[in-house]
């Protein structure tokens, strides 16, 4: 074989060598990693999630420095979460929790971890709370503490002031 022939064959062999042997399969995905078929997981920073009544009876707004979503239209997971529920003609209801799951489709909010729900003159504290935005129904299936009176009013007014200062 001529020198020119070896010059062509050797580089070709070097290039083909890594591809020799049995076909390699892709490593299994790590636990918790979404598969290609699963809904895309989105993560946002410093987001606001808004849900409102089509008839204009109420509006809900949740804020968090960290928001995860199964898709563009949710459901959304906020950790931690501060939220406001405003029903027309009524005092706003403020919510705080370590985690909030907001589902626009069902118009429901699930709060977990050091939950506080407050309005004018009362504060509800619980481990878990579900809030139906359509009906305004609140359910706490476990330990619950409702505080009424001046202290609750003071705390509520302080928090309303904080909410009002937010951009």
């Amino acid at each position: 074989m001529s020198a020119l022939g070896w010059r062509l064959i050797l580089p070709a062999l070097l290039l083909l060598a890594p591809g020799c042997g049995p076909r390699r399969t892709a490593p299994p995905p790590e636990e918790g990693t979404p598969s290609v078929a699963a809904a895309p997981s989105l993560e946002f920073g410093g987001s606001v999630i808004r849900v409102s009544d089509p008839k204009g009876g109420w509006k809900f707004e949740a804020r968090s420095p960290r928001v995860k979503a199964a898709g563009v239209n949710g459901p959304y997971t906020l950790m931690p979460a501060d939220a406001t529920y405003q029903e027309e003609g009524k005092e706003p209801v403020l919510m705080h929790a370590e985690r909030a799951d907001v589902d626009r489709q069902t118009q429901r909010v699930a709060l977990a971890g050091s939950v506080q729900v407050a309005s004018n003159g009362w504060v509800l504290e619980a481990d878990h709370v579900t809030y139906d935005l359509k009906t305004g129904k609140v359910v706490s299936p476990g330990r619950t503490k409702l505080s009424l009176g001046r202290e609750a009013l003071k705390a509520y007014r302080g928090r309303v002031g904080e909410e009002g200062k937010r951009p």
């Binding site: 003159g121 305004g136 129904k137 359910v139 619950t144 409702l146 009176g149 009013l153």
Partner: protein
Amino acid sequence: MRATVRRSLIAAVIVGCLAAAAGAGQQKPAGPNATRFGNYTIESQHFQGTIGGAWEFSKGVKVTGPSLTMTCDNLKVWPGKTSSDLEQGRAEATGSVVVRGRYVATDQTEWQVVGSAATGTYDGTKGEGVLQGGVEFHGTNLTTGAVLSVDADKLIYDVKSQQFRFERSNGLVRVKWEEPEQPAKPAPESAPQAGGK
């Protein structure tokens, strides 16, 4: 004379207890939205309710206020025009209702009072508190040790007039008054000392 004193003490104790039980606290509101009831907390193992609607507490309900605690199995509260407005609201407690409170009577003696019944209700629009079903009431004068006990079917307290009444459908309301035991007379050897003064 003694009967009159007893009657006034009985009235004072029961009025005090019911004032506490009905939530007619002595604290004045701090502002237009403050409740007359002072600071209250309601704790339970389950809660459900609607904003501006009825609130239902169940499983080990405990109400703590400035001058009373109440325990029961279930408590349903209908607030007044605003959520914090219990003054014009309504409340129903059911299942082993027990109200405990302290009361300072007009003669400045302090009383520990306990009332129990099957149900307890408070209606803010009527200004009326009711304990019903096997009502048992006990008041202990913490100064003298005197004990007042009342058994009845129903106890009704009018918040505005601070009038109260006990009712029993079959028979008479039973009222028992126990004076504390008198201290024993001094022993003979100490008698000369006492008599010498």
